[in-house]
Subunit: 637 residues, 2 copies
Amino acid sequence: MPIEDVLLDLKQKIEKNLPAGVTITDVEFEGPQLVLYTEEPRKFADDGNIIRNLAKELRTRIAMRPDPRVLATPEDSISIIEEVVPKESVISSYYFDPDSGEVIIEAEKPGLVIGKHGATLREITKQIGWIPKVVRTPPIKSRTVKNIREFMRNNLKERKEILKTVGRKIHRECTSKDQWVRVTALGGCKEVGRSCFLLSTPESRILIDCGVNVGSDENMTPFLYVPEVFPLNQIDAVIVTHAHLDHQGLVPLLFKYGYEGPVYCTPPTRDLMVLLQLDYIDVAAKEGKKIPYESGMVAKTLKHTIPLDYEEVTDIAPDIKLTFHNAGHILGSAISHFHIGDGLHNVVFTGDYKYEKTRLFDPAVNKFPRVETVISEATYGNSNAFQPALKDAERHLQMVVKNTVERGGIALIPAFAVGRSQEVMIVLEESIRKGIIPEIPVYLDGMIWEATAIHATHPEYLNNDLRKLIFQKGQNPFLSECFRPVDSHEARQKIIQNPHPCVILSTSGMMNGGPVMDYFRAFADDPRNTLVFVGYQADGTIGRRIQKGWKEIPMTGKNGSTEILKMNMEVQVVDGFSGHSDRRQLMEYIKRMQPRPERVFTEHGDEKACVDLASSVYKKLKIETRALTNLETVRLL
Amino acid sequence: MPIEDVLLDLKQKIEKNLPAGVTITDVEFEGPQLVLYTEEPRKFADDGNIIRNLAKELRTRIAMRPDPRVLATPEDSISIIEEVVPKESVISSYYFDPDSGEVIIEAEKPGLVIGKHGATLREITKQIGWIPKVVRTPPIKSRTVKNIREFMRNNLKERKEILKTVGRKIHRECTSKDQWVRVTALGGCKEVGRSCFLLSTPESRILIDCGVNVGSDENMTPFLYVPEVFPLNQIDAVIVTHAHLDHQGLVPLLFKYGYEGPVYCTPPTRDLMVLLQLDYIDVAAKEGKKIPYESGMVAKTLKHTIPLDYEEVTDIAPDIKLTFHNAGHILGSAISHFHIGDGLHNVVFTGDYKYEKTRLFDPAVNKFPRVETVISEATYGNSNAFQPALKDAERHLQMVVKNTVERGGIALIPAFAVGRSQEVMIVLEESIRKGIIPEIPVYLDGMIWEATAIHATHPEYLNNDLRKLIFQKGQNPFLSECFRPVDSHEARQKIIQNPHPCVILSTSGMMNGGPVMDYFRAFADDPRNTLVFVGYQADGTIGRRIQKGWKEIPMTGKNGSTEILKMNMEVQVVDGFSGHSDRRQLMEYIKRMQPRPERVFTEHGDEKACVDLASSVYKKLKIETRALTNLETVRLL
Ligand SMILES: [Zn+2]
Ligand SMILES: [Zn+2]
Ligand SMILES: [Zn+2]
Ligand SMILES: [Zn+2]
Ligand SMILES: [Zn+2]
């Protein structure tokens, strides 16, 4: 059936289901959702059940678009909204898009604009006709969030066209008589870096992640040139499980090579992704490396990105529904559940996950309506890869910092911008607040502050305890006074020239560049200071050399010459802050999965880790399993 | 390096290696071989070593093309050739192609035209300039062979263009920095029918077989629509292991869907392939089924077919060399050995094979310079799938025929046109010649006689004993007087209306149509007659029902009504004439393979057979193994 007929058919079905007197003028697909055009937005707002019942009846997501002619003027609208909405919501901006009939309201407390079960939103529409969309005013100023919102507002027309194309493609007719499901491994198998998988059926092809291995020139890129994915316009959708570069660093490259389809991820992943992509090409340029894509491709990616919240079941292809679930790994990280055909097969791609409650996140979800195949990460899949408990890691960190500052030293913590930094920040904030360590400043340098601002913009993606603290007690730990962003070269020099007891969290996490090196040069000499490792140090990095006990570190000077740095500062390795499940948690995650999966494939770990985990899953859990190999295709059904 | 530069480079290398005074004017690729153009063909013929040494030096196959201006006239040439060549060779025709400078000589005894180590051929060139190519005059008139030869003569220009394109593609430059080898299963795994595999590297894609499952509407075609192979112009070459329809029935479909490249097979496979393809679409049309391709596509396939003899090492892609070896299954059947990269990896596709010397063929070859991966058929892979010895099968057949004719009856043997028919013919001929059974006529109906004529045209592809019998003793069993082709409806009616003791071999082999049904209707009633099964009877066929003991056979009458046929004739099942290795032979073939392979994959058998064989190979031979699944891709390197 041609798509025009599908739409006509839907329109007739909807008209049959509408209450008497409520009319629509047209229907159209917009990304995964169906949009109703009406001259009567107020009638729809009057009864919240109309849309809900239609969505249930048609088993799809539905939105409503008012006719521009029935809308109040922006001026009138604003004064009405400010009457309807409680002052405490603190609205900071409005953006009216007559084309979609949407008004985007930025507020400090979005919940107050939404109202109970959306009652306030409906009241707004009833009065002004416009459909309000509420976003949070970042409690910490975020350049990234501001730029993204501006960019999206400036590209609404093009965005609408993209969504229409995507929507019509999703709802095209299924034509194949065959039924099969396959997974092709394109990167990230028996290795970490360049994660990339293709999930395919006779109807559809879904790419899951498209990472870059920044540590390798030879194996930097997934195998994107094989016919299973190339030419890239054959791909229906790209899914990004989370914002780490090894999972999304080359998504813009897909657009450079001809991909034109949607990118699905959670809203925080979208924001972090833009931040990390721009930083990635920036750093590469500074290091004189070949840049795989220009910033224009980051913008193009953003234009094609469709954010989906956790637990939102979404059609992404004629025969595939996607649902994201919390993965507990970093902000917005998602377990991706694919429901294929009408009950034909269910595949779960875990991406990176943590099956333990942490300071920031709830443990990864492992309960699904159905699941037959699981593709699981195996970073700590080695049979002896157990990590200390988080509690122990926290105590260790507290002790190290306490000892250091008490002797008048500085605790320098190299860390990635996203993930462990925020975890460590929360621990430090609580330790200071509770008096476990003295009241010292915690300096945040590199991208850490910007990443933290993105965390603060998406509190819904943090765990229960933090949400309660923020929403009910109005106590956002990220806003604590102890945190001091270092936002300029001058600010950094000031700290270096006037050393005083403090903690400095700075990128890069493995000491292969970034502002952490400036601090290290300045503070390595003084035995009162401590260098604290909270994350994994890869072979060949300076971080790893120091961990091994080197006392003289060869460093490239400003003018390119090699100088030797004498190490006198203390070195402490605090294990246990990983965002990955350790061996025990990996096994538990699979063991306690509901329902029990029929088969488990392992990836994202070195060869031994992947094989070890697979063999234990088979031996202990009696589940069919195998460590995947790049470039192979397995048949799931 | 662009291909023009490659050729220039080769030309200079060749000129450096030529003896003083011998010159060439140009070089060009023609399929897998390099062709030298010269005005001095006589000088090249003068020294047989020039070409041989060049081929060794350049590690490629080399042919020579004389300039048209230096050739003798056809009239003069013929009289010179008839002086040079012994009369006993019995030359039946000449064809002069000035474009290639070749003269095709058809002779009853090609060996006499060739001379010892090609001495007579060189003498011809020395005298007339032309390059003689010798083919055998079919000792039994074959419509197929005649048509193929005529067709090729009529399309020499286009053929030359095709070969040039193929040749330039084979010798293109390798560009990928990656090294990997993969096999994708597209059909024939855990099933029999529609055999099809893709062998791929970063540089090349080779399709091995493209069969049809004639017994199934749903699973008739290999998965040709997946991106690994579609669009089909991405394929470098198609290999056909042997002429059975389950291995080559859909090769013309590839051309219909846009393939334009070469098809490699042995010369007898080419001839049988044309016969069976034309018959396949003819039968399908008669049965009112959808015809997958027209006869024009059979012709196009033929135009693109490049015959290769056993043991001829041939470049088929920039990084792949192919060598065919005897498979012992049917005439021209080949074990295909792929040498990938410069010693990177070696894969053997067995196709169907018989690891036992039969009346017609030597046992399948299992000694190779190198082999890491084997993809083996598993038709009789079941742990209990043992077949009676061939000797016992022969004695059983002799006894059945003897008993039948001695009581005045007719032995009716349903059989496939290619394979078992010729095996049974040889046994009957010998039995009659040695007086073990009385001197009765052996009628051959359906395509059996035509297929036999093709066997007689390629005696080089029969086993040692037969070759000796034919070439040294001049005693060709296929030419025996006992064989009587039934070549018309009238001839068949004459036999049916005047029943007399005889053997009738007729298609189809499973009694689902063909002339065998006419004989069956006529002779089923008489208990003196015997129905003799020498091949496998699939479920759902009349043959199978009779084997099961049905005494009343429902048959569709001429007018479409159902009539019941009473079975009074004797039924005998003679096992052991299979062209497939039985379980023991499959295991022995792998066990005795030299060198020992690193891994064995099984295919071409029902699920149990494939899994059983794989598991025994692992348990008894300690070789890594797995039964392949359609649509999966395995990484070999
Ligand atoms: Zn990660
Ligand atoms: Zn990762
Ligand atoms: Zn789910
Ligand atoms: Zn066969
Ligand atoms: Zn076969």
